[in-house]
Amino acid sequence: MRTTRSRVMTVTAGMASLALFVAACGSNDGGDSSSAAGEGGGESSDEAVTLTVATFNEFGYEDLVTEYMELNPNITVELRKAATSNEARDNLNTRLAAGSGLADVEAIEVDWLPELTQYEGVFVDLSDPELEGRWLDWKEAQATTEDGQLVGYGTDIGPEAVCYRSDLFEAAGLPTDRDEVAELLGSTWDDYFAVGEEFIASSDVAWFDSAGAIYQGMINQVDNAYEETDGTPIPLAENTVARGVYDDVMAASVGQGLSANLAQWSEDWTNAFQTDGFATMLCPAWMLGVIEGNAAGVEGWDIADTFPGGGGNWGGSFLTVPTQGENLEESQKLAAWLTAPEQQIKAFVAKGTFPSQVEALDDPELLELTREFFNDAPAGQIMATRAEAVEVVPFKGPNYFAIQQLVSDAINRVDVDGTDDADDSWAKAENAFDELGLS
């Protein structure tokens, strides 16, 4: 027995060292990266320079990068793509922490931009008098820090409209034409919920997909949802504004029973597109592609040129230049070129990312775009109108993301899981807020 035991120990030790070795390999490819920054940091424009651009999802930059390299023969541009925005965020955070390994131009989504801009000197101030007025005011404001630095060039935006199923509307005896529907849906959230009540009275289908999504739409119309304009978080227990919106959403989804009780992006949500799960949903420009994909084969989707409570924007990204890079000037030039209206239109045609540039919004190519899947709706025209309707630029400070997460958990507990009622769930969110230890 003696020998067997010591042999076991040997095996165990061997396995342990192997595990450690494997672990070391694993952390390696996350940690030190191929920092493919340019070799020369010179000013001369003839010097060979390699720039990397890191994006996520689909920015539609593949052809643009090739075009840029043809225009600037001395520059080589490499494109790195992360699958999701979250993955890009993790990567960015880790490499910022490590102090190296970032791309020369990094794409950042608006929701997690503020948590990064709170650290000074991480990104280059990109403000340039020549580019003033290139973007919609509110888009530019999102990337402007308190002391007036512009840390990112706007790429795309997510102006919101309402997408609906005209076939289900017809079955419930509601108008189906997109202009009539826009009128029917009215201008306030109460109108929207009231029509919903009318709809579910004569249909088995839910009115909207997810309480969380409706809350997103509503809270994005609030100036200071969770933080004062100086960045101080408002304690959730005293936040009457957010609580008010929360109560409204809960009353509509649980009280009136308008919600399909789905969490966006969940398996059930994706499948519900195929099984007539809901009749309407809030659709930012980028959602059109998602609907088209999830609801492939379903007929009847259409877009109404309206949005309850005024305009609204959901999402959108920026190109930033981290100060880690070696060719800051060339990187900035590249970022400016990529976000110029002409280029962004091409990206829009390629992948449907809706441009945030003022000039691009009157571009005939954009305005004439229709989408066959949505009953040939003039998607370009509708989204351009929706973009102009955006009035409120919600303040999103460094803690926005964290607090938004707490409230959205609270909503899902009630709407999706049904484990708590609205009051209990809010109390849990208050408790979680205290545990964040922000104040």
């Binding site: 067997t4 910022l96 922490a97 966006q264 969940s266 398996e267 059930d268 958990d409 899981d417």
Partner: protein, 327 residues
């Protein structure tokens, strides 16, 4: 195994030649030096590696855990055990501990039992033995994330296949993502799917090493199949059992991929129904708080828990198996 054993034989130094009283030549000195130092040099790679990737991170994590330490802002002031106290007081920590143990128990116990049973079957003279033996390892080849993606679809609350199958036999749909225990069960299923085959092969290898004459003697003494299994096979598997249970404990308590990929948000459910300790650690370090200090505190707490559980497991397994074997 042979590579680990080899240096041991080499390291026992042959008798050093007698040195003449007048002093030693350089060559002799070098020789003596070689005798004394070389063995340590031979075994040093393991220890250097262990220092670098084992001990140093451990110590550094402890150092980080007693500081206010941001992911990007780096080291701030020394706070002593505040991070530990802070973490221990959070509801999410309690939930994470509960979930981790629950998932660990639901996965490991059936897994080890099933693995022994399957190994016992594969140990018999069945047809196409190699095919079956390779077959049980097949799930292990699938990446955990892929397993999680597939299973989270199967276990979808409203549109999942599992609920549809349950509906066929008249069972009401189970809310796999909303309720605590069902979600643990679903995650444990993924773990079992992936690891049962692996453990089976380890048990199988150990079973084949059991001398056949012991079985023969048992059969001559009139023992049946079951009796031989419980009185011969299981006791003789003791060392393997210890190994499997300890690795299962470490793996089970560190579970991350499966619960993280179990829904689209990866934060353990809206009420943290399946948040595990490693996910909690990740959330603290890379989530909104970006607090490496607190994340490191969780890492150390988890380390201590694993050490304690590992020791308890080791002692129980030893006792159980010893009494079984000596009877």
């Amino acid at each position: 195994m042979s590579t680990t054993a080899a240096p041991r034989e080499v390291s026992s130094p042959p008798p050093v030649p007698k040195v003449p009283a007048g002093g030693r030549t350089i060559r002799q000195r070098l020789n003596a030096f070689d005798m004394k130092v070389s063995p340590y040099l031979f075994i040093s790679p393991f220890f250097i590696l262990f220092l670098l990737v084992g001990l140093f991170p451990l110590a550094y994590t402890a150092y980080v855990s007693v500081h206010e330490w941001g992911l990007i802002s780096g080291r701030q002031e020394y706070v002593g055990f505040d991070n530990y106290l802070n973490v221990l007081g959070q509801t999410n920590f309690a939930k994470a501990t509960r979930n981790t143990f629950s998932i660990f128990l639901i996965s490991s116990i059936p897994q080890v039992i099933a693995a022994i049973a399957i190994a016992a079957v594969l140990d018999q003279n069945i047809r196409a033995r190699t095919f079956w033996r390779m077959g049980v390892l097949l799930p292990y080849v699938v990446a955990p994330v892929a397993v999680a993606l597939i299973f989270s679809r199967l276990f979808a609350d409203q549109s999942g296949m599992v609920n549809e199958l349950l509906g066929l036999v008249g069972i009401d749909p189970i809310r796999w993502h909303a309720e605590v225990l069902p979600s643990h069960f679903a995650i444990a299923t993924m773990v079992n799917f992936r690891w049962t085959g692996y453990n089976t092969l380890i048990f199988l290898a150990a079973m084949q090493a059991i001398p056949r004459d012991v079985y023969e003697a048992a059969i001559i003494d009139g023992a049946g199949r079951l009796r031989t299994f419980f009185s011969v096979t299981v006791p003789m598997l003791r060392p393997t059992l210890i190994f499997v249970i300890i690795t299962a404990t470490i793996g089970g308590l560190q579970i991350f991929d499966e619960p993280r990929m179990y829904d689209q948000l990866g934060q353990g459910g809206s009420d943290r129904q399946w948040l595990t300790l490693t996910m909690y650690l990740y959330e603290l370090g890379w989530g909104p708080q970006k607090s490496f200090g607190q994340a490191s505190a969780v890492a150390w707490i988890l380390f201590l828990i694993i050490v304690v559980i590992g020791l308890v497991n080791f002692m129980i397994t030893r006792r159980v198996a010893t009494t079984g074997g000596k009877s």
